[in-house]
């Protein structure tokens, strides 16, 4: 600019133009400079405006919680009548443990709402709508965001941190149904009304420890018409700890141990003979779980592998009242069970999986006046089950699964099961726990 101005001056001088012209040029220059400055400011403002405009739009509904819906439907082919389903050797939990109905059916639909409440809390509500048109609260809890030093509190109804599989939502399971051990020890899936305190250690190796205090609303704390205990305070307690980390350039692992202690009162179960027995005493459950996931360079897009297993051991002792004789006597049992499952994604979208289940009923002891013959379902028997599945996930939001199982839950017959199932999620992008 300066050089141009000087040049203009020189030319003007050379041409002998009057002084007025020079002054005019300088004025023009001044105006031009001012215009450039203003333009520059406008460009900066415009840039800012574009940045703002390119961000999310503002609206009242922008504060709506994240909404997602899970739909699933299933075709079942069962060689045995599902109405006669039982797991021999174990106390029936009155939970939803059966293989479901034969033929085509709508599975459980889920409606989930979640959002940060404020800077202290996050809230989650997951309602399950059964195919029989009833609505239940699967989970409904608040959790803290602002506690320091790795502490977290969760309160409300939530899937108990007992074992590994119990905390995973059914739509994220690798098989259509829960392992046999989860069915007999936790009534399929234990969601407790209570409070959970958890602490994560400030170490590079993942380590957490936590405790849950609950109302004992479900098996093993309660089952049947008596319902949960009518008392102040706590009826169910669970402590747990996990350790986890990475191995090499593609493997992640986690292992945990949990201990669930409850004192059931008038917990009832129906014997296949049609009588109702009731138990009052102590129930203690230990669960050891482990999970290992592998993907080349931690990139699971093309191939990945998952190995998962849990071991359960339960000790119960107390008084049992027989529905047949209406007599009460001492009862004690030590029972265990485990499963091991692996799932392999061999090409994008396709996975295969296999699970082996085994339960060990042990021998229950009955003291006089009780007679073991009055409790046929508790007669010693070790159920087993083989399950094979293949599933196809065309996107992150849909999955179609075919599953075959050979289920020896009943002591006298084998149930050959075939399931064809779809599971889809609508709405907010989900995130799955490790």
């Amino acid at each position: 600019m300066h050089r141009k101005a000087t040049m203009a001056l020189a030319v003007a001088a050379a041409l002998g133009l009057p002084h007025a012209a020079t002054a005019q040029t300088q004025d023009e220059l001044k105006t031009l400079r001012e215009q450039v400055r203003q333009l520059d400011r406008r460009v900066t403002d415009a840039e800012q405006a574009v940045i703002q405009a390119s961000s999310r739009p503002a609206s009242e509904s922008a504060m709506n919680p994240a909404v997602s819906v899970i739909l699933n439907g299933i075709y079942s082919n069962l060689s045995q009548d599902p109405n006669t389903f039982r797991i021999n050797g174990f106390v029936p939990t009155l939970g939803d443990v059966g293989p479901g109905v034969r033929g085509l059916s709508l599975g459980e639909s889920e409606l989930a709402l979640a959002a940060n409440i404020d800077h202290h809390f996050r809230g989650t509500l997951i309602a399950s709508i059964s195919s029989e048109d009833s609505i239940g609260v699967e989970e409904g809890y608040i959790q803290t965001l602002s506690l320091s030093y790795g502490f977290m509190i969760k309160a409300g109804r939530f899937f108990s941190a007992v074992g590994y599989q119990n905390q995973i939502h059914a739509h994220a399971w690798d098989f259509t149904d829960a392992p046999l051990a989860n069915k007999v020890f936790l009534g399929n899936q234990l969601n407790e009304d209570g409070i959970q305190l958890k602490w994560v250690a400030p170490t590079d190796l993942y380590f957490d420890v936590g405790v849950e205090l609950g109302r004992g609303r479900q098996f093993p704390a309660a089952a049947g018409p008596a319902g949960p205990r009518n008392k102040n305070g706590v009826s169910s307690g669970n402590v747990f700890t996990h350790v986890g980390g990475d191995l090499g350039t593609g493997t992640a692992w986690q292992t945990g141990i949990s201990y669930l202690s409850t004192s059931p009162q008038d917990r009832t179960f129906d014997d296949p003979a049609g009588t109702t027995n009731s138990f009052t005493g102590q129930s203690r459950l230990w669960v050891l779980d482990g999970i290992l996931k592998w993907a080349p360079n931690y990139n699971p897009t093309y191939t990945n592998f998952k190995l998962q297993g849990e071991y359960f051991r339960r000790k119960e002792d107390g008084d049992l009242t027989s529905g047949t004789t209406t007599q009460t006597g001492g009862f004690a049992s030590v029972q265990s069970g485990w499963y091991l499952q692996s799932v392999y994604q061999f090409v994008p979208m396709w996975r295969v999986g296999y699970r082996y289940d085994r339960l060990n009923s042990g021998t229950s002891s009955f003291s006089a006046p009780l007679n073991a013959a009055d409790f046929p379902i508790l007669a010693a028997y070790n159920p087993t089950k083989h399950t094979l599945m293949v599933d196809w996930s065309p996107s992150e939001f849909s999955r179609v699964r075919l599953q075959f199982a050979s289920d020896k839950s009943r002591s006298d017959v084998t149930d050959h099961q075939v399931f064809l199932q779809y599971i889809v999620s609508l709405g907010a992008h989900g995130a799955h726990k490790f």
Partner: protein
């Protein structure tokens, strides 16, 4: 029950002494943000790289080791715009660390400081895995790096005022070197102007926009969905009418689909570094753009 109650008392009595760490703990969701934090922070920061160039930042498992690292982080740097939606929210709620929660100064989303491209006009999952906030891969435009560097400098000064001077002077030096490099890259990339390229995923949109290139298609039929034979055949037909110069993909993509198309369309494939660490030469942010431009120029000849 009694044992459990005793345990609760013991647990609540645990007094946690935070380890006296001198450096600011940075959790970098992607390698490019770790590299940027390193440029600005130097010795004052200790950086954990949550992912590598070999991982798709949209598909990351919320591993226990990541929770453990976020637990101790003072500053979390992510791309944002829903890129990490499948894992970061979960890690945050499980970390018990209020310093890096959404809304805290320790939570930094890089994409908020730049103009986003490809903001969808229609949002529907039938269109693939869309990001309602716009394309999240903002770091592939070198001008964005400069803008984000300034925002990150302010954030680091806010969180760690004791080292403000260091951050300020390092940022100044970085931006000077970056502007010089930017001028050089603009000259170098001039021959790329108007060049039609096929991408694997829409992760180079910002680079394409900066270099004035033209996207002639993507191997993914829809964002986030793997390439299908039918779509590749379609793409091949389209390329007969409108030929492209090169097919690019990222280190976390399988080269198979790109090579399939390359052999039929008779154009080269190029693995771009995509982020820091993606290739041997992409050791830092400068190397990232040097190598990206270098690789494309090699095919333009």
């Amino acid at each position: 029950m009694k044992a459990i109650l005793r345990f609760v008392v013991a647990l609540s009595a645990v007094v946690v002494a935070l380890p006296a760490t001198a450096a600011l703990n940075v959790f970098a969701c992607e390698p490019e943000w770790g590299a940027l934090a390193q440029e600005l922070g130097g010795e004052k920061v200790s950086i954990y790289f949550a992912t590598t160039a070999l991982q798709d930042p949209h598909r990351v498992e919320a591993r226990p080791s990541l929770i453990a690292r976020i637990r101790s982080a003072d500053l979390l740097i992510c791309s944002g715009s829903e890129l990490e939606i499948g894992w970061i929210p979960l890690l945050l709620t499980q970390s018990g660390n209020p310093r890096v929660q959404l809304g805290s100064p320790g939570y930094f989303e890089a994409s908020q400081y730049v103009v986003k491209l490809e903001i969808p006009k229609v949002i529907d999952r039938a269109l693939g895995d869309l990001h309602p906030g716009g394309n999240p891969h903002v770091h592939t435009d070198p001008r964005n790096i400069a803008r984000i560097a300034q925002a990150l400098e302010e954030r680091m000064v806010l969180i760690d005022p004791a080292n403000a001077e260091s951050y300020r002077s390092r940022a100044k030096s970085f931006l000077e070197r970056w502007q010089a490099a930017l001028a050089r890259w603009e000259q170098q990339a001039a021959p790329l102007k108007g060049m039609p390229i096929v991408v694997y995923h829409k992760d180079f949109s910002y680079f394409i926009n900066w270099a004035g290139m033209r996207e002639a298609g993507s191997l993914e039929p829809k964002p986030g969905l793997p390439p299908t034979p039918a779509h590749l055949a379609d793409l091949l037909d389209r390329m007969k009418i409108q030929p492209a110069k090169v097919i690019v993909y990222s280190p976390y993509n399988s080269p198979q689909a790109a090579e399939f198309l390359s052999s039929r369309a008779n154009i080269p494939t190029v693995m771009m570094p995509f982020t820091v660490g993606g290739t041997d030469k992409a050791k830092d942010l400068f190397g990232l753009f040097d190598d990206t431009i270098g690789r494309l120029l090699a095919t333009a000849k």
